[in-house]
């Protein structure tokens, strides 16, 4: 436990938080990389996922993609892209987006698809356009699942951004790799504790968010006895677990 005492002492020393290489800057960098990457992944994955979920077209591709991604080693993608694009943030950012898109895509697609087809038919019968159905009916009902996809993307990117420091991307991984190079275990452990804490905090925030966004009507019917059943069979692989649970996406970091 002495090792932990040393690591916490290092973490709590204000000196280590200051300066351009301090924890403060690196933490900010880590968060910026994470949210920047996830924002891009959302920009690509959410519209595409909506389209696939609503039309049912390209479903097999999405399922295969999110299944196959589980086997894809993120360290390999990271080193490959970094070697190709050179040291810096661009390479790792591209690799991280590639790794994050399928999570968002699968989350969005299964969110839209999980909406009861009878509900969608009812909306159509009331004269809503397809666009209105997607944005006004399917998205709000499926929002917890959609956010579940974003949640697993965030976790994956936070973790893999640590690895990205290996190819010179900055962030909290920088401290870890500095410790690794100099054989300073206190530094490695302190960085690890920071990253783990950051991941747990983000996971917790998204768990809360997933609960908040459940529409009032859906919340009411869930506690009642008339639980709907989608007429289209849900995908057996790919999508993240329903609201409130940690995603079942593959772990790639």
């Amino acid at each position: 436990m002495n090792l932990f005492a040393d690591a916490f002492a290092w973490l709590l020393d204000p000196v280590n938080w200051e300066g351009p290489d301090g924890i403060g800057v690196l933490l900010l960098q880590h968060l910026l990389i994470t949210f920047g990457v996830v924002a891009i992944a959302c920009g690509v994955g959410i519209p595409l996922g909506m389209l696939v979920g609503h039309t049912g077209r390209g479903r097999e591709v999405v399922v295969a993609l999110s299944g196959g991604l589980r086997a894809l080693p993120s360290l390999g993608v990271l080193t490959l892209v970094a070697l190709w694009l050179g040291i810096g943030v661009a390479g790792p950012a591209v690799a991280l987006v590639v790794l994050a898109v399928p999570s968002v895509l699968a989350g969005t697609y299964s969110a839209i698809e999980s909406v009861d087809r009878r509900t969608v038919d009812a909306a159509r019968g009331m004269g809503m356009t397809e666009r209105q159905i997607i944005l006004g009916v399917e998205t709000p009902i499926g929002l917890p699942t959609l956010i579940g996809g974003v949640r697993s993307a965030v976790l994956q990117v936070v973790a893999t951004a640590t690895l990205a420091a290996y190819v010179g991307a900055g962030g909290l991984g920088g401290i870890l790799f500095l410790g690794l190079k100099t054989g300073d275990y206190t530094l490695m452990l302190a960085a690890s504790i920071l990253v783990i804490a950051l991941a747990l905090v983000l996971d917790g925030l998204f768990a809360i968010l997933q609960r908040i966004v459940v529409p009032a009507g859906v919340r009411a019917s869930r506690s009642g006895t008339t639980r709907g059943r989608p007429t289209r069979r849900p995908a057996t692989t790919g999508g993240p677990a329903p609201a409130g649970s940690s995603a079942t996406e593959g772990k790639h970091h």
């Binding site: 690890s192 783990i196 059943r229």
Partner: protein
């Protein structure tokens, strides 16, 4: 391509080491998850607590966990044991939910019928509950297997050899083919183990193949019934 052909021996060697690191966590995660998942299913009060606590493990990034485990366990820092224990934890985090869902999916009527024809609790578990939960367990195990094989590579960063060593070595020496070889070999290994699990599942649960279509409709009816 020529790098891959010239270094087939090295790739094969690392693939074997990779297997040595990947297989124990897959087996351990399965064996440990069945009782934990069973408890989570059987005792309603424990379900929420168990599933959320175990789910938290999954949020922990792998590299930091690999680094932190030696300090917790007192193991040596480059020991393969750290990687195996960390991956077992991730496996359990994924698998327990599948086990709880699997047992939860067993038809209540079937369970009552089994009790009615004289099964004891223990006998019913092995001969009724477990086989019927089998397909869901297998699906969970396949996810565990594939992601475990992929995660082993991260160990290379802290000096635990595996196919991931091809990434670190290839990056340092600037050999793209070496990294490609690592990615392809890791994925092939993952798909091979996945394929073996599918075959093993068919052998252990011959009824799933014959009744795939029938059981799909049965599942729908069950959902309707429990709704």
């Amino acid at each position: 391509m020529s790098w891959i052909v010239d270094n087939l021996d090295l790739i094969g060697e690392l693939a074997l080491v990779h297997l040595r690191l990947a297989v124990p966590p897959i087996v351990l995660a399965f064996v440990l998850s069945v009782p934990i998942g069973w408890v989570a299913w059987r005792y309603e009060w424990s379900r929420g607590v168990l599933l959320s606590v175990i789910g938290l493990i999954y949020a922990i990034p792998s590299l930091p966990l690999f680094v932190a485990l030696p300090a917790i366990l007192g193991t040596s820092r480059r020991s393969e044991l750290n990687v195996i224990i960390a991956l077992t934890l991730y496996g359990i985090a994924l698998m327990v939910r599948s086990v709880a869902d699997g047992f939860g999916g067993v038809d209540r009527d079937i369970r009552q019928a089994a009790t009615g024809v004289g099964y004891s609790g223990w006998g019913r578990f092995w001969q009724v509950d477990l086989p019927l939960a089998g397909p869901v367990l297998l699906a969970g195990l396949r996810v565990v297997a594939v992601s475990t094989v992929s995660l082993v590579t991260v160990g290379a960063v802290i000096g635990v050899q595996s196919l991931g060593s091809l990434f670190t070595d290839g990056f340092q020496r600037g050999i793209q083919a070496e990294i490609w070889a690592g990615i392809i070999a890791t994925m092939l290994l993952a798909f091979a183990i996945d394929g073996l699990l599918v075959v093993a599942g068919r052998l252990a649960m011959p009824w799933t193949r014959a009744g795939a279509a029938a059981s799909a409709t049965r599942t729908d009816e069950r959902e309707e019934a429990t709704a």
